[in-house]
Subunit: 205 residues, 2 copies
């Protein structure tokens, strides 16, 4: 009896999801993500509330280009790169980013331990300095369907970065897989190489 209740509750949840999907455009699980970008009425990209539960595909330090590379007071900033889970799983099986893939780049201060007793001088993560997004949405954007957005932790949504910005041309030229810097994402490098989607890019590292 109790199990029957559990099943009913979950069925209702699934039914809700199915209805939600059915209410929009036709979605094919193979080629479009269902947890990708959402926009507000002004076409601004909505910051996903739960992006920290997305898949972290790579964290680096000192990898930001532009004014946020070095934090005030010295020390390099950390960059955490998250991708929506369904696109991550699609990439693992194909080496290709499906339409409606979304990356969130979280830039954080770094702080140092500097423990004289243990000799540890490592660095760990502090507060958020900035947050950006990179979105593939073929129905909306040129440049291979990709667009960059500025987001913030204070606002619900953020504006698109104009296509004249250097990030577009740099990603197009130097990124190993479809405008994305898969050369810096250790697990995905091997996946792309296995599937033959890893482009030989100029040695930037």
């Amino acid at each position: 009896m109790r199990m029957r209740q559990v099943v009913s509750t979950f069925s209702l949840a699934i039914l809700t999801v199915a209805l939600a999907i059915g209410g929009g455009t036709t979605v094919s699980a193979e080629t479009k993500s269902i947890d990708g970008p959402e926009y507000d009425e002004k076409g601004r990209l909505v910051r996903p509330e739960n992006y920290r539960e997305w898949i972290n595909i790579g964290t680096g330090i000192g990898m930001v280009y532009g004014p946020l590379r070095d934090q005030p007071g010295g020390g390099q900033a950390f960059t955490n790169v998250f991708v929506n889970p369904s696109s991550y799983r699609a990439f693992l099986t194909s080496g290709v980013w499906p339409d409606r893939t979304m990356f969130v780049l979280e830039i954080r201060h770094s702080a140092t331990v500097n423990n004289s007793k243990t000799g540890n001088n490592g660095r760990f993560q502090g507060e958020v300095m900035g947050i950006e997004a990179h979105v593939k949405d073929e129905a909306r954007f040129e440049k291979g369907g990709w667009a960059f957005f500025n987001l913030s932790m204070r606002e619900r949504s953020g504006a698109m970065i104009p296509t004249s910005a250097s990030c577009y041309s740099c990603h197009e030229t130097n990124a190993a897989v479809d405008n994305t810097f898969v050369q810096f994402y250790p697990e995905l490098r091997d996946v792309a190489k296995k599937h033959g989607t890893f482009k030989n890019v100029p040695e930037v590292f």
Copy 2:
């Protein structure tokens, strides 16, 4: 008709999960995770196949204690800390780790970009150097229910680290929340402080 098929398939999946849970001990969603540690017949901890899809709560560099702190050839190693999703969500709402919480520590080489053209000298992640786990399982372990395990990418399971090892006493003394170094996990620091579970530990950073 098609929706009905979808619902039936998912119901079957849920039923399977319910039966799997029902077959073991009684599980309460509030106090025990359902995606936590699994052991083999010898009591060794099984490496979760999908730990990279767990929640990354903090990545640092040079934060390893012991022989893996510095990688061969120089340069500090990265440490990625993942936790099972249901325990992460429980922590967000309570500031407390439920029983059957599991951390995976992935230690990776770091490599540098050293791009003379752009001036980028940041570091990104390379291959896995080591993998360890920290498990809370009150029915199995002393020391507040926590135990450490050595894992590897080559073997399905790994052995428990003896409780005489320094990691136990160091975590017990210096960790901000229940044997875990929440002081290094930026999002969780604030959660623990809000819920009053953040312990004033000696300043190690």
